[in-house]
């Protein structure tokens, strides 16, 4: 791999723009057989809470056309077990680790971030304010610009690390939430989390997931995610973005970069092809070599002067 893939997102410099999304990559170690953890741009951990969390009752997932619904409910080992059992191994593997964190209330988020503040080997914090599958916290913050601003400001004060805020596509006004997060101190925005969806068994007339609704992910949501990245990039020029949503091939990653993302996170495709992140790094490298272009130069190419750009309601 080469320097031509390196990208900078504000204070966060990555060896390349291919990362893996929270909730689809475990704690990274599960993928060591399939992906060189030191080769990818970074990995976002399963959402960490202060205490271990059991998650929702099964059934938790169901497949839908070109994607899936999930309502795992943020099952995780808790921040202490992550620090003791996972992080040292990730450091030894040379991984660039982004800790995804969540809580029921502002205090919980702050407590998790504080518990990680002196941990060695963390590149950034990703704030999950957009999980649709818990009854408290999560998406409730991300759907409100006011709650987003309040939470991000408190977490900003609690960490000196690069701070990523993961936005909800279910927010009534995505751009307002993006601005609120930026103005409250977020360094980077990642988008999108899953879209709230539902599937019902036509025979029993019962939801296929015990939680009732679930988060839709996979290639089915890619056009929505690309539009949202494009829209936020247009509205917040200069704000570093990570694009997420249905990335399953190099063309998908390039699409997000063109829309205005500086890096991308591969999600559901990790379940289907556990080696995909490593494959995309290699393919992007070959692409950039063939075109004699740096990855950073691929960012935002769809923005300048396009008719879509004018119609998207540029502001900011």
């Amino acid at each position: 791999m080469s320097e031509r893939l390196a990208v900078g997102l504000g204070p966060l410099v990555l060896r390349n723009p291919i990362l893996t999304a929270s909730g689809t990559f475990g704690y990274g170690l599960e993928f060591a057989d399939f992906v060189g953890l030191a080769k990818i741009g970074g990995l976002c951990t399963k959402g960490l809470s202060l205490k271990p969390h059991a998650g929702n009752a099964p059934p938790r997932i169901c497949e839908t056309p070109a994607g899936m619904l999930n309502a795992i409910g943020l099952q995780n080992v808790g921040v202490e077990a992550f620090r003791k059992e996972k992080l040292p191994k990730l450091r030894a593997a040379g991984a660039t680790v982004i800790a995804n964190v969540w809580g029921d209330a502002e205090d919980d988020y702050v407590a998790v971030v504080e518990a990680l503040e002196d941990a060695e080997g963390l590149a950034a914090i990703e704030l999950n304010i957009s999980c649709p599958n818990v009854s408290r916290g999560g998406m409730l913050f991300g759907n409100s610009p006011e709650l987003t601003a309040g939470l991000v400001a408190r977490v900003r004060a609690a960490t000196g690390r690069p701070l990523i805020v993961k936005l909800s596509p279910n927010a009534p006004d995505l751009v307002a939430c993006a601005k609120a997060a930026r103005d409250a101190g977020a360094d980077i925005l990642s988008l999108i989390n899953t879209l709230v969806g539902m599937a019902i068994d036509p025979e029993t007339a019962r939801p296929r997931i015990s939680f009732g609704t679930g988060g839709l992910s996979g290639p089915a949501i890619k056009p929505i995610a690309v539009r949202m990245v494009y829209q936020v990039a247009r509205a917040l020029p200069g704000m570093p973005l990570m694009g997420i949503g249905g990335i399953a091939g190099l063309g998908d990653a390039l699409e997000f970069l063109a829309a205005g993302a500086t890096a991308v996170q591969v999600g559901t495709a990790n379940f289907k092809e556990p080696g995909i992140a490593g494959r995309l790094v290699a393919e992007l490298d070959a692409y950039c070599a063939a075109k004699s272009v740096a990855a950073a130069a691929l960012v935002g190419r769809a923005q300048a002067g396009s008719a879509a750009a004018r119609e998207a309601g540029a502001e900011g």
């Binding site: 998650g55 056309p65 899936m68 099952q75 290639p219």
Partner: protein
């Protein structure tokens, strides 16, 4: 070691409508797999099913490099598998999950193998291992009717104990549930272990019989899996001593006493 294998479809053995064996060439998987383990199988270039599907490995031959899956057609993925042409390329992630415990059984021991319908899928490979270990296994095979068990000839040459058949409608073997047939036999036979796979109602009934008779058992459980290697956490099963077991990594082979049946 587990890996993402490139496999080639060799042939399909058809037993009856919607029941078939798919035989693939996957030498590394054939060498590595142990009885009860599974693989995540992808029929390529499809948006539905989008994810891979978990299939128990039915049999594997390290010599020929062949891996067999015993399948019932129930949806788009299994239908695509049934229609695969010889030579088609597939991807197979495996071997995954834990395996049936056989190593501690003494030579000459006698075990029971209880299967409901296509739940018989993992047992040809188990019988191969039982034979190698000098352990005999009585097969209890049940279904709604004869049509559910059209694959039974797959077991004729490999069962090294007695075979007992039961169907709900009496069209094959004894009329009634295979769990009752098993119960009657197990009261008179000292089975060192019971290996079972089938639908949830069979598991529930069998778990009661196992507890009543004080037997040791291993169930090959089924849960909808997103990834198959412990990441998506979609396939959890309520556990007796903690909230959940992750079926794909802590199972799929689980003793019934580890499962919280009342929360299933």
């Amino acid at each position: 070691m587990r890996a993402d294998h490139r496999a080639r479809h060799l042939r399909t053995e058809r037993y009856g409508p919607g029941l078939f064996s798919s035989i693939l060439e996957a030498p590394a998987l054939a060498r590595a797999v142990r009885p009860g383990q599974f693989a995540m199988l992808e029929v390529p270039d499809r948006v539905r099913p989008y994810l891979r599907r978990a299939y128990s490995v039915a049999d594997a031959s390290p010599e020929s490099g062949e891996v067999e899956f015993l399948v019932k057609t129930i949806g788009a993925g299994t239908a695509a598998l049934e229609e695969l042409a010889g030579g088609s390329a597939l991807r197979l992630l495996g071997p995954l999950g834990n395996a049936f415990a056989i190593g501690d059984l003494p030579r000459g021991a006698r075990v029971a193998v209880v299967a409901g319908g296509i739940g018989a899928a993992p047992f040809p490979l188990l019988y191969r291992a039982l034979a190698a270990a000098g352990v005999s296994g009585d097969l209890f095979l049940g279904g709604r009717g004869e049509k559910d068990l059209s694959f039974r000839r797959r077991f004729e040459a490999i069962v090294n104990g007695q075979t007992h058949l039961a169907t709900d409608d009496g069209s094959l073997g004894e009329r009634g549930f295979v769990t009752e047939l098993f119960r009657a036999r197990a009261r008179r036979t000292a089975y060192a272990r019971v290996f079972a796979c089938g639908p949830m109602p069979m598991f529930r009934a069998l778990a009661k019989v196992i507890a009543e008779l004080g037997l040791a058992a291993e169930f090959s459980t089924e849960a909808e899996m997103g990834c198959g290697f412990g990441v998506c956490l979609g396939c959890v099963i309520p556990a007796a001593d903690k909230p959940f077991l992750v079926s794909c990594t802590e199972g799929p082979i689980l003793p019934p006493e580890k499962i919280a049946w009342e929360r299933l």
